[in-house]
Symmetry: C2
Subunit: 344 residues, 2 copies
């Protein structure tokens, strides 16, 4: 059945008794077509069961109705389990959900691309320049990624989710990570905590360093010039390890800010293991307000990250840039909010 030829514009034209050009005009809703013919053509389309071939159309219009979602990750290789973790993390799904909420309405599809090596990166940019997709949304994982620059230099419409580590003239949406961390600091202070520590993410990732900076700055403003810190890598287990280390270093710790909910989960486990009560002995504030925050026990007080909205805005930004490539480069920063639950 795959072999039976599908009807083409030519076939429709023959059935309708007009030329290919006319059918094309009718289908694309271009005026200058006699209403009578109009009807005849649509009738022929119905009778033949014609569906335009998007590929052929794209080849000439240079528009594909596709946006690439690029997950850039220099470290992992082909079947690195890291990618599995990444996809299982709600982060990925929330981004996709946010993107689709605006793309779907426009009938635009999302093509998922993972780039590991520089080779793949180069090919991707080449494909995009060739019009494989109309633009790209980039989730840049590595601390410093050449991809954003490659894209702008290639003239490919692209929007980053999360600010680039080094300045690149590219559109992006981001969260005011520093403000969020400051919120966490204020909350901990307002709860009367005195010995406050932090479990941070990798220092070279912008989102992470912003949280560190914001937290430290706010505490410093209240006389805490020194914040004991342990570094994790955003996984649950690293949070558990970091918490143990932090407790060993500061046994009388009474408050901690953990840079994401997943690590907070691990921290909670370490705290339980050390027989400390949360929040009475140690107050814990997470970050992201992911589904893990609600599932945790006690439920996590955390910083809400409107990821879906951010992704949706990224999609809108991209669409606008595709429409007008000369548009001024812009960025949209979202404000986080504290969500108070039981852990602090």
């Amino acid at each position: 059945m795959r072999t039976e030829r599908l009807p083409t514009l030519e076939d429709v034209a023959r059935v309708a008794g007009v030329s290919r050009a006319t059918v094309s005009r009718v289908i694309n809703g271009i005026r200058n077509v006699d209403p009578q013919l109009h009807e005849v053509v649509w009738d022929a389309v119905g009778r033949t069961g014609y569906v335009p071939n998007r590929l052929a159309r794209s080849l000439v219009t240079r528009r594909t109705g596709t946006v690439a979602l690029v997950v850039s990750d220099s470290e992992s290789h082909d079947d690195d389990p890291f990618m599995g973790r990444f996809f299982a993390d709600p982060y990925f799904g929330r981004v996709v959900g946010g993107l689709m909420s605006v793309l779907r309405a426009q009938g635009i599809q999302l093509a998922l691309q993972i780039v590991g090596s520089d080779d793949v990166r180069k090919r991707l940019v080449g494909d995009l320049r060739n019009g494989q997709a109309d633009g790209a949304i980039v989730l840049s994982l590595p601390p410093v990624d050449p991809l954003p620059r490659m894209l702008t230099e290639g003239g490919v419409p692209a929007v980053l989710i999360g600010r680039p580590a080094e300045p690149v003239p590219i559109d992006y949406v981001d969260l005011a990570n520093d403000t969020g961390a400051a919120l966490a600091a204020q909350h901990l202070l307002s709860r009367g905590r005195q010995r406050i520590g932090m479990i941070s993410g990798p220092a070279d990732v912008p989102a992470s360093s912003d949280r560190i900076a914001g937290f430290r700055r706010e505490l410093a403003r209240h006389g805490h010039g020194w914040v004991p810190t342990e570094t994790g890598n955003f996984t649950r287990d690293s949070g558990e390890t970091a918490m143990r280390a932090l407790l060993a270093a500061v046994p009388d710790l009474d408050g901690v800010f953990v840079a994401n909910d997943l690590m907070a989960l691990g921290a909670l486990a370490a705290l339980r293991e050390s027989a400390r009560q949360v929040p009475s002995d140690v107050a814990v504030v997470g970050f992201d307000d992911s589904s893990a925050a609600v599932a945790a026990s006690p439920a996590l007080t955390t910083i809400r990250h409107p990821l879906e909205d951010m992704a949706a805005e990224a999609a809108r930004l991209l669409l606008a840039r595709i429409e007008d490539p000369a548009m001024r480069v812009s960025s949209v920063i979202y404000e986080p909010a504290l969500v108070e639950r039981d852990s602090a």
Copy 2:
């Protein structure tokens, strides 16, 4: 910059001093080309920075190097929040991760498509027949979905994740949901539970009805002919509501099987609210072994669902079918396993 014409095969040919045909042969690694010319051509490719245009290539080869991931969902409309929930659920991410683990190695990209209305469904099948993608992986949400049939009738290579509700000659991978539920029953019984209930999913979804049937059958084999059951819709909140209802109906309940982890989370909350201890008063077994299971407290004893493996197998199956459309229709059923944690 978008305007500057990219080098085409023609340009490379001119630089190399050969014909387009020869360049094409070299690039596609077809023999019959003098090694000398071979080198000259590659050199020209390098000098011009040529990247083949996939669109143009696909148009003639009828191969796109793209697989569609179709999320079929008849109920929700354009910005139905349901889709947001769906994407945020780890289920989606795990599937994507599993698929990508095999597709990525082949350099195949995944194009995400959501189909809500029958109109979209029709257009999608048309596009697929036109070679928009080489095949489709289908995540069929509604109880009875016309899509699988439409795809097979259209001769589109497709693989379902989760068996079709009504028999359709289509490849699929699925989990032995009934066996999994039976495992849960055995575990509860082995823990000496006597008054065992169940919180099920919607009865018209195959995965759900299989779990109900498997659980009831196993309990019946051990003399429990009647299993008090409440129905949820796989969300956390519905699990909480169902648990309350179940407790009201069977106050001395001492064991419960909840058809997925998310609902189990809700059930745990309801149990806590009613001051019952888990697992001493009521033992709880979930289903899926999602990340929620570990985050819960107490950590959930649950049924492991090798979703990543299943998705990977679906991808392999699809690739095989694309290669040989005449291949016999096949299905792969995975066996679940009990993961014992603290809740039962």
